[in-house]
């Protein structure tokens, strides 16, 4: 019998039935294989670009952006998004957001230069972060960028630079505050409750060397409580109105930062993130209502800036991986090793990512631990997942990996893989090539006396 005439092979399994007993592996949620991403076959992507492979969907980015923008513009008249570079600063990704109208929000000199190189006008760059060098600040001042001041040392440096450049820098202060959530982020910016923020605003206004443009906060990450944003908006509005009253100066914008969750499932969550995380409309409602009711004159409503990162890009990222091997652990548990590890999937430490086989399978499943390829005990993509029977060489698609993985990834043990983007017409573009040994060794130097050895 020819191999093609034979029945598709599935390895034999026996599974004990534990009816009625709660199972930490959870219910199986994937009933169809994910054979295509945006109508492009996963197998063809692997054949052309190899495995593992990050895939970014341009269509999903644009759809998510427009849905999010609509949620805010329906409720508040003046809204501006600024793309959070640190979440994913692949140039192709940034260009999609800039084409949609997003400004750039950067947190380092490196990111600032990237935004400029991407063609973003300096006045549309928001410069956050605690580490801005003198040259970074000078560059931002000369480009009319919006400097978000993090601490007093920086405030004094900006005042000095204003004198040196003979220009009036456009500044805002970053404000931290108690919004009723735990943990409270108080390491960035000036505190609201203790009066630090008000003092900083007074210093700016009395210096007369800086142009106070706005107020900024970033209250946390993967926030699941919309009311916290409402509190933050009220507190920033309170400061803005106090500045107006004391100095007759209008705050041009209020920047609520980011921190909105994606639909990923946080580790330890009882329900999938898709069902339990608040929708973007709930956040939009909380923020917009707070600002509209804060007491601003209707003609002097500040611009609302949002630096949403994760919620806009997570859904658009996929990681295709291949099964390297299956093994049985001493406990009897199934272990599957795949070629994508935590070095390129940093978010595996936070999320129970959705994992879908990329080829047809039967309804038989096994409780599995999904390991990456690294020779490190921490390299676990999913500790407990119910998966169909996978064979060596089968492909898996890990969903919602668009945020942070492509910026926080590490070159460790293996080299970092290619990244492709599928455009609106289904055409696949290589947007970042895979690394080679030369990518790393070109940066290294071996001292002359260490070059020779005999073994």
């Amino acid at each position: 019998m020819k191999n093609t005439d034979k029945i598709k092979y599935e390895r034999p399994i026996i599974k004990r039935l534990d009816a009625g007993i709660p199972n930490k592996f959870g219910l199986r949620t994937e009933y169809t294989p994910m054979t295509h991403i945006d109508n492009v076959s996963v197998k063809s992507l692997v054949a052309e670009f190899g495995s593992p492979l990050f895939v970014v969907s341009e269509k999903t980015i644009r759809n998510t952006y427009n849905q999010t923008k609509r949620a805010f513009t329906l409720r508040y008249p003046k809204v501006q998004f600024a793309w959070s570079y640190k979440t994913n600063y692949l140039d192709a990704v940034c260009h999609v957001f800039h084409q949609e109208g997003s400004w750039a929000e950067v947190v380092s000199g490196f990111e600032y230069d990237k935004a400029i190189a991407n063609g973003v006008n300096g006045k549309n760059i928001i410069f956050n972060g605690p580490d801005k060098s003198e040259s970074d600040i000078e560059k931002a001042i000369n480009n009319d960028s919006l400097l978000h001041i993090d601490h007093l040392d920086e405030l004094y440096m900006v005042i000095e630079m204003a004198e040196k450049t003979n220009k009036k820098p456009k500044v805002s202060i970053r404000v931290n505050m108690d919004t009723g959530i735990y943990p409270m982020w108080d390491r960035f910016g000036f505190n609201y409750e203790t009066g630090q923020a008000w003092d900083a605003l007074n210093k700016i206004m009395f210096s007369q060397k800086l142009e106070l443009m706005g107020l900024h906060c970033h209250i946390g990450t993967f926030m699941l409580a919309p009311y916290a944003y409402s509190t933050a908006a009220y507190k920033l509005a309170d400061l803005a109105l106090a500045v107006e009253k004391k100095f007759n100066h209008n705050i041009k914008y209020i920047d609520l930062g980011g921190g909105f969750p994606s639909k990923n499932t946080l580790k330890g969550s009882f329900l999938p993130g898709n069902d339990s995380n608040p929708s973007i409309d709930e956040f939009a409602e909380a923020i917009s209502s707070a600002l509209i009711n804060a007491g601003f004159h209707p003609e002097k409503l500040p611009l609302l800036i949002l630096e949403t990162g994760r919620a806009l890009i997570d859904d658009a990222g996929y990681l295709i991986s291949s099964v390297i091997a299956n093994k049985r652990l001493s406990s009897g548990k199934r272990a599957t090793i795949i070629d994508a590890g935590v070095n390129i999937m940093f978010t595996s430490f936070w999320y129970d990512h959705k994992v879908s086989p990329a080829q047809p399978f039967t309804h038989y499943t096994e409780d599995t631990v999904l390991y990456g390829p690294l020779c490190m005990n921490i390299d676990v993509i999913r500790e407990n997942i119910s998966l169909p029977l996978l064979n060596k060489g089968d492909n898996l698609v890990i969903s919602m990996v668009g945020a942070y993985n492509m910026t926080q990834w590490m070159q460790f043990i293996t080299l970092r893989p290619k990244i492709v983007m599928i455009d609106l017409n289904g055409k696949v573009h290589l947007i970042r090539d895979s690394e080679t040994n030369a990518t790393l060794t070109d940066l290294e130097r071996v001292p002359e006396h260490l070059k020779k050895f005999d073994l």
Binding site: N3, Y9, R11, P12, I13, I14, K15, R16, G332, Y364
Partner: protein, 87 residues
């Protein structure tokens, strides 16, 4: 290899061990293998049958077969006492 004679297995892969009260599900290829073991088919014959019927290779099936037998043993589905007596 001898499956405990009390273990019953249905055509659709439901396995019940009355000795322990445990029940299991087995996929179709697993049912075929258990039935062949019950019929006292030697290991070589089972492997030959599977390789002729399914699109797999010898080394690929060998490790899966080994894993499956280990699982049957861990679930106490083999009649190890009588097996020892036979030996």
């Amino acid at each position: 290899m001898k499956i405990n004679k009390n273990v019953s297995i249905s055509e659709n892969g439901f396995v019940f061990n009355p000795t322990t009260g445990e029940s299991f599900t087995v996929n179709p290829i697993g049912v075929e293998i258990i039935n062949m073991i019950k019929m006292h088919s030697p290991e070589e014959e089972i492997k030959k049958f599977i390789l002729e019927k399914y699109a797999t290779d010898s080394s690929g099936f060998d490790k899966d077969f080994y894993d499956f037998i280990q699982m049957l043993k861990s679930y106490n589905l083999f009649d190890e006492e009588n097996e020892e007596n036979e030996n």
